[in-house]
Amino acid sequence: MADGMVEKRGVGLWFTHLGLIIGVLIIFFPIWLAFVASTVTQPEIVRPPMPLWPGDQFFENYRKALVSGINAPVAKMLFNSFVMAMGIALGKIVISLLSAFAIVYFKFPGRRLFFWLIFLTLMLPVEVRIVPTYEVVAGFGMLNSYSGLIFPLIASATATFLFRQFFMTVPDELAEAARVDGARPMRFFWDILLPMSRTNIAALFVILFIYGWNQYLWPLLITTDPSMNTIVMGIKQMFPSGDDIADWPVIMATSILAMLPPIIVVISMQKLFIRGLVDSEK
């Protein structure tokens, strides 16, 4: 039995790893192609066969993308995306923490009704309510602005629901102990509930940052000024209309740049993120 295990480990381990490596290569290949395409010249891309190894245009293409881009400098679009993703992630977290706090800890008339109303919005994806939302945002004069990009996406039934579930696992006695200790509700929220939720907050931040970063339809609709474009929609805007020739190396460089911030966020918050998903520290 023990022998078999060891043997299995010897050969099986190699096969397992081989399988995993092949899998990773298959998934990674398109990204590699994009990277290669971002380091060569336009004629090299267009001429078959496609190059498989990086060329010498790396700095040239990336500098061109960052500084001038096609419609707007990519640096500006990156910044816009960053503001939007941060705004959405932090805004969603703050709003849903507060609404979950209200729903779990306060008895007010219509508490269940409000919870179900929030819950109901889960069933309405952005696309369904996009036209009325556009009307409202336009009415407030928030087209082509950061607030227009951020506010309509801030309400979050998912995050509210998540925090509600977490708060409900916090023993009632803890809130009562804080009350006896003299903590008023917001003090309890700040001193006790918030620190206890920090792993959940971190996990949610990662998910919501990527959600915000990847927004496409909404920014496409409300930012007509190229300097307000976000990067994910901006890539699409770089595609030529009509007979223009696409500047593929620059587009590819932009795509690679667009991937970096989410990767950085995931990697830097990985430890907290996994802890938040796996255990809830009580």
């Binding site: 023993p171 009562e176 102990a177 006896v180 003299g182 003090r187 520290e281 009580k282």
Partner: protein, 342 residues
């Protein structure tokens, strides 16, 4: 330290009344234990005093001031919870200091008070630890420390020892007793363990389904239970109850007669007050518990000294006791005065 007064305090949840009017005057420095079976309303009563549960009617006074509508923090009370309710992300020090911090106590004084409490509770080595790094007994002590540092007028305990194992429970019981002597605290202490009640209480409140059946010093309650419920609940093994008509020769208003196991002795078959058959005997060393089945089919327990010989199981035997030790109850479950009693 302070006095506490409950005046006909009642509690309703919606339409159901769960506390039917409890009154007591607690003197300064008195340790009151509330004891009763599960669901009788002990916690609810305590939580009303704490301010965590609204009072439906009646009045609660701390130091002569009505506090019915005061927030817990304004009542000058501290509470020790059954599950300790320690803040999981704070160190032992911060747990104990939290109330003081909120009250904006100067830093030096906080350190001083927490230090004193930690020393008293032997927690000095653990001040930087988180609650999850402590044993059950240590957590319990932190919870007590959190109450002590605030120097409240009244201490409230809700079954603070029920999550500990038997040995630790005895140890912590002694520590609480000791602490109470040192600090002279006014306290309400909820438990369903009668040993805790008997040993800790200056006076105890025996609760039965939302009613304070009897309030008095432990031994007084033990010797003079005012209701059948109290007689049955306080004392272990429980009091034996015999219908008065099977005994004959009792006043007409007596419905049932209570006899404590230690007051009954075996007698020759055919003699004594009643007859029974020994079902089994539990020899506990210092004492032996004899379980008999009476002719009426009911069980009867006798507690006798461990050195007294025990008849074989199945033996028919008489049971005797001094009539003056009987506790007799009317048909309403209330005590009827013993005419024969001296």
């Amino acid at each position: 330290m302070a006095t506490l007064k409950l005046d006909n305090v009642k509690k309703r949840f919606g339409q159901t009344e769960v506390i039917h009017g409890v009154s007591i005057d607690v003197k300064d420095g008195e340790f009151i234990v509330i004891v009763g079976p599960s669901g009788c309303g002990k916690s609810t009563l305590l939580r009303m005093v704490a301010g965590l549960e609204a009072v439906s009617s009646g009045e609660i006074q701390i130091d002569g001031t009505r506090v019915n509508d005061a927030e817990p923090m304004d009542r000058d009370i501290a509470m020790v919870f059954q599950n300790y309710a320690l803040y999981p992300h704070m160190s032992v020090f911060d747990n104990m200091a939290y109330g003081l911090k909120i009250a904006k106590t100067p830093k030096l004084e906080i350190a001083d008070r927490v230090g004193t409490a930690a020393k008293m509770l032997e927690l000095e080595d653990y001040l930087t630890r988180k609650p999850r790094e402590l044993s059950g007994g240590q957590r319990q002590r932190v919870a007590m420390g959190r109450a002590i540092v605030r120097k409240p007028a009244v201490f409230l305990f809700d079954e603070p020892l029920s999550n500990l194992d038997a040995k630790l429970r005895v140890q912590m019981r002694l520590e609480i007793k000791d602490l109470q002597r040192k600090l002279g605290i006014t306290a309400l202490y909820v438990t369903h363990d009668q040993v805790e009640a008997m040993t800790l209480a200056d006076r105890m409140i025996v609760m039965n389904a939302g009613v304070a059946d009897q309030i008095g010093a432990p031994l007084e309650v033990y010797e003079n239970p005012q209701t059948e419920f109290v007689a049955g609940f306080i004392g272990s093994p429980a009091t034996n109850f015999i219908p008065a008509e099977t005994l004959g020769d009792r006043p007409a208003k007596v419905a049932r007669v209570g006899v404590r196991p230690e007051h009954a002795v075996l007698a020759d078959a055919g003699t004594g007050q009643i007859q029974g058959k020994l079902v089994y005997a539990e020899a506990l060393g210092a004492e032996t518990l004899l379980h008999l089945r009476l002719q009426s089919g009911e069980m009867f327990t006798i507690r006798q000294d461990g050195t007294v010989p025990v008849p074989a199981d199945g033996t028919l035997t008489g049971v005797d006791w001094r009539q003056s030790r009987e506790i007799s109850f009317g048909s309403d479950g209330h005590r009827t005065p013993n005419e024969s009693a001296a």
